[in-house]
């Protein structure tokens, strides 16, 4: 479930790098010779490949249940095929549309409110001169990323919940308690708040890395030419970050339909499905809990395909704009 931009970004960069880095092909050797030479390497690949087949590629094929009237006791082999009937059912299911609408609303709110925070924080941290303060802040800011969602929401509940300590303080001070955790109207804000609390510090890491790669002599030259703080930010820092920002934005868009599954499943009870039902929780409740396997799989498949299309679309737009994006078209080193 780790779909943090930072991780995806590094992954993507390495792909690009890998492309440029396999120049010497020894394809001239006959396959028998290579087999004899590489057999140990092939053995090393076996566990990983078995894993990929068992827990990725076979399940991907398992998505065919979306086109079946799947009965668990009959299994995939003997269940009836029913074409796109499940998708037609979804189309007529108001719960599905609620889930889709919630997903999109939450995704847009997250994109608008979460995305700029790590960038802004990285700029502030980078401007700190004292290494001690900078390191202390980073230590604290990275920590929540390693806490589980259950723990994060438990902490939020204990802090902001109806009986939590913030409301305790409010009550002791003679104010009315505020239902931070259970108000469906402000739920998107709560969710983004949790996301910022948990991951903004960690997401900052990648901007800091990009910032540390900026050539300092550019700043010196600009300063010598009389550029002040804001000019340097605008004309040097931000342009240097452009590639990273675009890359993260693309990955974010590809991931837009996975707004944070555990976060929602954990809070669905307290806020109600009206606000907290997203595509992933719909899949879970319809399929695993409700036993309507085919509808669940259809919703899940629709989500997966849409996500991949969005990613591809965002990437090709980036290409048009002259950015490298996630995967290079061919060869180009950047």
């Amino acid at each position: 479930m780790e779909t943090l931009e930072a991780t995806r970004d590094t992954a993507a960069k390495t792909v690009a790098q890998g492309n440029g880095r396999t120049p010497k092909k020894k394809s001239s050797l006959p396959i028998g010779v290579r087999l004899r030479r590489d057999w140990q390497m092939l053995v090393l690949m076996v566990p990983g490949v078995v894993f990929l087949l068992a827990f990725f590629y076979v399940p991907v094929l398992g998505n065919v249940v979306a086109f079946q009237d799947f009965q668990p006791y009959l299994g995939i082999m003997h269940s009836e095929w029913n074409g796109v009937q499940n998708f037609i059912n979804l189309y007529g299911n108001p719960d599905f549309w609620d889930a889709l609408r919630n997903t999109l609303v939450l995704a847009v709110v997250q994109l608008a409110l979460f995305f700029p925070v790590p960038l802004a924080m990285a700029l502030i941290v980078d401007s700190l001169v004292s290494n001690r303060i900078r390191r202390a802040f980073q230590t604290i800011a990275y920590l929540p990323h390693f806490l589980s969602w259950v723990l994060v929401i438990a902490l939020f509940q204990q802090s902001l919940g109806g009986a939590g300590f913030v409301n305790n303080l409010l009550r002791q001070a003679g104010f009315d308690p505020i239902p931070f955790m259970t108000n469906p109207d402000t739920f998107p804000l709560l969710v983004v708040g949790q996301l910022i609390w948990k991951d903004a510090g960690w997401a900052m890491i990648i901007f800091l890395a990009a910032l540390s790669a900026v050539d300092v002599s550019l700043y010196e030259a600009a300063a010598a030419d009389g550029a002040g703080r804001w000019r340097r930010l605008w004309h040097i820092t931000l342009p240097s970050l452009r590639t990273v920002i675009v890359l993260l934005l693309i990955l974010r868009i590809g991931d837009i339909l996975s707004v944070g599954f555990e976060q929602f499943i954990l809070q669905r009870d307290s806020v109600g499905p009206g606000a907290a039902e997203v595509l992933d929780t719909f899949t879970y409740y319809a399929g695993v809990v409700g036993g309507d396997w085919s509808s669940g799989a259809a919703a899940g498949l629709a989500k997966g395909v849409l996500g991949a299309l969005l990613l591809w679309g965002a990437n090709s737009i980036a290409h048009r704009l002259g950015e490298p994006g996630i995967f290079q078209k061919r060869g180009g080193e950047s």
């Binding site: 780790e2 590094t10 998505n63 249940v65 924080m121 902490l155 997966g304």
Partner: protein, 299 residues
Amino acid sequence: MSGRTEQVGRPVWKERPAPLYQTIKAIVLGGFALAIIVPIMVVVSTSLASDQDIIEAGGYVLWPSHPTFKAYDTLFSGGLMGRAIGVSVFVTVIGTALALATTIALAYATSRPVLFGRPVLLLVLFTLLFAPGIIPMFLIVKQLGLIDSLWSLILPGALGAFNFVVMRTFFMNVPQEILESARIDGASDFMILRRIVMPLSKAVIAVVGLFYAVGFWNAFFNALLYINDTAKWPVQVILRTYVLQGKSLSADQLGVEPLPQPQSLQMAVVVVALVPIAMVYPFLQRHFNKGVITGAVKG
């Protein structure tokens, strides 16, 4: 931090920020840090507080005046929570070992231009773009007979594409000359991996191992999906059931009586889920900045 270190660190072209900016920076960074620290501190303090402290403070204490481990005694004296900790530890240890072995082997095998190296690499990277979906995953785990088995929490997490990429990048940066000379001396691939590549990669193995460990310890949804038997629940599911959903930990579930203030007991559950992370975190943190992450980013 004295004024002198600041003077040394500041480049000549960088002017000292105006007091206004400095205040804003301090508020933003300080506020964020406090927002992270205070909730954690309150939870830890409350778990350690005596019943009397909690009643006086009206539910939560910032600092326990009469610290007691009563809540922890109750938790660890067996029953559901004791078993859950056992489950979580088992899954984390075995899962991490298995995942590390799989990842190291696959990363090494694809880090060099060998037969099928390239297609296998693409096979892994494709998993970054698409997820199989909840229902097919559930069906495959069920088909393999892993429902209600702890292996359902371990096997699906045995290879993380991101960890694989970090590992492979590191292996590719091991100087080729060392590998070549070992090869000329007659070392096999297995031996090169064990005697040369792995000792050179201790840092990255440690970090990736800790990433896996954190993942296994934190896994909640897999347990919710695949484990129905309460005796096999990991800590995270207990945390959800008894703290978030507020189901009461009754005396017979814990196997003991009498109960301390439930508030401190609930907080103790939170702390139990938190402590292992807090313990490995310093080790993780040491490697972040200049180590794996930056290295992989700069490529």
